[in-house]
């Protein structure tokens, strides 16, 4: 209610009032947008919501499909029935972060071809497992399968070859042309060695390959170095030779959650926290306990990278005190392809 009369000041007052009107409208719009946004948009889910959506609440046990014959990775003790190895430790780590105690985790031996179907052997029957932690390399072809949902990688290794000592040095897969080479059926190694012209024999269990190698049925065994390393390190006669075949391709092992996207998010969250929490040495301890000591007897082949692979940030709602322990996730960037 100003009393200006001159045309100049009056126009200035009017334009100021119009500006204030615009500002008032802007504030009203912002407040309305905020109310709608905070009511409608809940943001990322909390861990509890993810656990419920993943179907893990009220679940009495976590079933995990693993290998049972690979020393250092996943081996079942014939006497006690206990599983041990790097995959087992990683499985326990993830299970613990999912809220399962060790006594609530049950391991089931799973064949390579069943990893994509989440079907594992339990005595005389097959059961559907919740997770597959079984040296399962992430590839584009496998990701297209309906029941394959890979987590972020938890170990990086590469394909290599093991022979009996005395075999000529193998520097590439072509050096195995015409030789009897054993590998795991449906493994990523099978295709490469077949292309090189070797006589490929696919087995469901890697231990069968080494039995055949020692008996002379096969001249070489090829698959991921981290798996072969355990057989070399535990060979009672110490006459196995690990060869570096100079492949650039990296085998990135991932955990299959069988199409359960929420479970994958939770597994990735576990791997992300393991990677970024300086007070969480579980991955490093698993590597030291199971793989590091195998390296010297497997030279010149590097059996696996000794650092946990990168994990993309996972956005979940969390308490401020949790954020202090784990760095807040940046907005999701386009994920680099994990297929190697």
């Amino acid at each position: 209610m100003s009393g200006e009369t001159a045309p100049g000041p009056r126009r200035r007052v009017l334009s100021m009032r119009v500006l204030r009107f615009v500002a008032s409208v802007a504030v009203l719009v912002l407040v309305m947008a905020a109310v709608v946004a905070f009511l409608v948009v809940k943001g990322p889910p909390s861990e509890q919501e993810l656990l419920e959506r993943a179907g893990l609440t009220d679940k009495l046990e976590l079933r995990i499909g693993v290998k049972d014959d690979v020393p250092g990775v996943a081996l079942r003790d014939a006497d006690t029935g206990q599983f041990s190895g790097f995959d087992i430790d990683i499985a326990y780590m993830v299970a613990s972060d999912l809220g399962f105690r060790r006594s609530q985790v049950h391991f089931y031996p799973i064949e390579p071809e069943d990893r994509s179907k989440m079907q594992a052997r339990d005595g005389n029957r097959f059961v559907t497992v919740d997770l597959v932690v079984s040296t399962y390399s992430i590839t584009e072809e496998r990701e297209k399968l309906p029941r394959v949902t890979f987590s972020a990688p938890y170990l990086l290794t590469e394909q290599s070859v093991v022979t009996i000592e005395g075999h000529s040095t193998v520097q590439s897969l072509e050096d195995l042309r015409g030789e009897a080479v054993c590998t795991l059926g449906t493994s990523t190694s099978q295709t490469a060695v077949a292309k090189a012209g070797a006589n490929v024999f696919g087995k469901n269990r890697l231990s069968e390959c080494f039995t055949g190698l020692r008996s002379g049925q096969f001249e070489a065994v090829t698959t991921d170095a981290a798996m072969l390393a355990g057989f070399v390190a535990t060979d009672p006669l110490q006459r196995l030779q690990h060869h570096d075949i100079g492949l650039e391709a990296v085998e990135a092992w991932g955990i299959n959650t069988g199409g359960n996207e929420d479970l994958r998010t939770l597994v990735n969250l576990s791997l992300y926290r393991s990677l970024h929490n300086p007070n969480d040495p579980r991955w490093e301890e698993a590597f030291d306990r199971n793989l590091r000591h195998e390296q010297p007897v497997n030279l010149p082949q590097e059996i696996a990278e000794e650092h946990q692979p990168d994990v993309d940030p996972v956005r979940v709602r969390q308490w401020p005190w949790d954020r202090d322990k784990f760095p807040p996730a940046e907005p999701a960037q386009p994920a680099p392809s994990t297929s190697r």
Partner: protein
């Protein structure tokens, strides 16, 4: 205004005053109905056992921030309409202005203090803006002829406060944009910047458009908004009971849900499916409290360590740190218990 229209206004106000105490009652009943998943026997059981004091406490704690919203919005918009209208008589035709003029300054001061304690940090810039606006408009209305006082209250003070607030929240605004939380960033950034523009009149022709009518719309929708917020508020503790099997005595199952009551024979629990379970106390092996997940904050932004979704009260008060996940809260018996 004629005597007849005054009488009509009075009668309208009486109806309104009658409805005000009924609103919390309706909210409380609706909350129980919602909790019972629309099942009448369950709702009657809840009515029988749920403490009215507990319900009222939940209502007050959950909606404590609403009182400042009502008072400050009413006072701010009323003051803006008062200084913007063509004449004081014209302004007084609006109930908003009349209500605004009836609010004593000390009430506004107390309410600002209450809001400072009970509003989330991300809304505090809005509070500062509204407070500056009310102060500037009041000075302009009462001391309009004192040019220096008006300039100090309506221009200088908002600019100084804006500079101070921006210095404090600047890093949080950048962090909010980086996190993709645009609404939070704008809430922190825009209100303070616009505060110097909200301390004076708007064109008289559109004054009611930005004051009276938004207040009417807010008054219309506020009950629904308040209801939606209160319906999600927890009024019963979330618990998990580890229950022995009848025959073996081993822990066999976990019952999760909201505890309705405990007597000397059994514990009554409303599970997550809305089904009432009566568990014999003799069979209960262990019991634990579980956290409600919906209260986990969604924003990752903080201002110098103060998360934007926390109120000053929450930030000052001691909070429970991270607890190890209890398998019973996920429906699994605890082997360690």
């Amino acid at each position: 205004m004629t005597g007849a229209s005054d009488g009509a206004h009075l009668r309208n106000q009486q109806w309104f005053l009658t409805l005000i105490p009924a609103f919390p009652l309706v909210l409380l009943v609706l909350r129980l109905w919602y909790l019972s998943k629309q099942d009448m026997p369950t709702m009657l059981l809840l009515v029988r056992y749920v403490s009215p004091l507990g319900l009222l406490s939940a209502l007050v704690i959950t909606l404590l921030w609403v009182l400042p919203v009502v008072v400050l919005v009413g006072r701010g918009l009323g003051a803006l309409l008062l200084v913007s209208a063509a004449s004081r008589e014209d302004a007084m035709r609006s109930w908003l202005v009349r209500a605004s003029l009836r609010m004593p300054d000390w009430v506004v001061l107390v309410v600002v203090a209450l809001a400072a304690l009970t509003w989330q940090l991300r809304f505090l810039p809005v509070l500062v803006m509204v407070t500056l606006s009310i102060f500037g408009l009041s000075v302009r209305d009462r001391y309009g002829s004192y040019r220096w006082q008006v300039s100090a209250a309506c221009v200088a003070l908002p600019l100084v406060v804006a500079a101070g607030v921006y210095t404090w929240i600047g890093p949080a605004v950048v962090a909010a944009f980086r996190q993709g939380e645009t609404v939070t960033a704008l809430l922190l950034l825009v209100p303070i910047g616009l505060a110097p523009l909200l301390t004076g009149p708007v064109p008289a022709r559109v004054a009611r458009l930005v004051t009276h009518w938004p207040a009417m719309v807010a008054a219309l929708f506020a009950p629904f908004l308040i209801g939606a917020i209160f319906l999600r508020a927890p009024i019963l503790p979330s618990i998990a009971l580890e229950v022995h099997a009848a025959d073996t005595g081993d822990p066999a199952r976990v019952v999760r849900g909201h505890e309705i009551t405990v007597d000397d024979r059994m514990t009554t629990v409303l599970d997550s499916a809305g089904i009432v379970q009566f568990v014999l106390n003799d069979r209960i092996a262990s019991k634990t409290l579980c956290a409600d997940s919906w209260v986990v904050p969604s924003s990752m932004v903080d201002v110098h360590g103060w998360p934007v979704e926390q109120t000053a009260l929450e930030w000052i008060a001691p909070a429970r740190g991270q607890q190890p996940a209890d398998p019973r809260c996920q429906g699994r018996p605890d082997p360690a218990s």
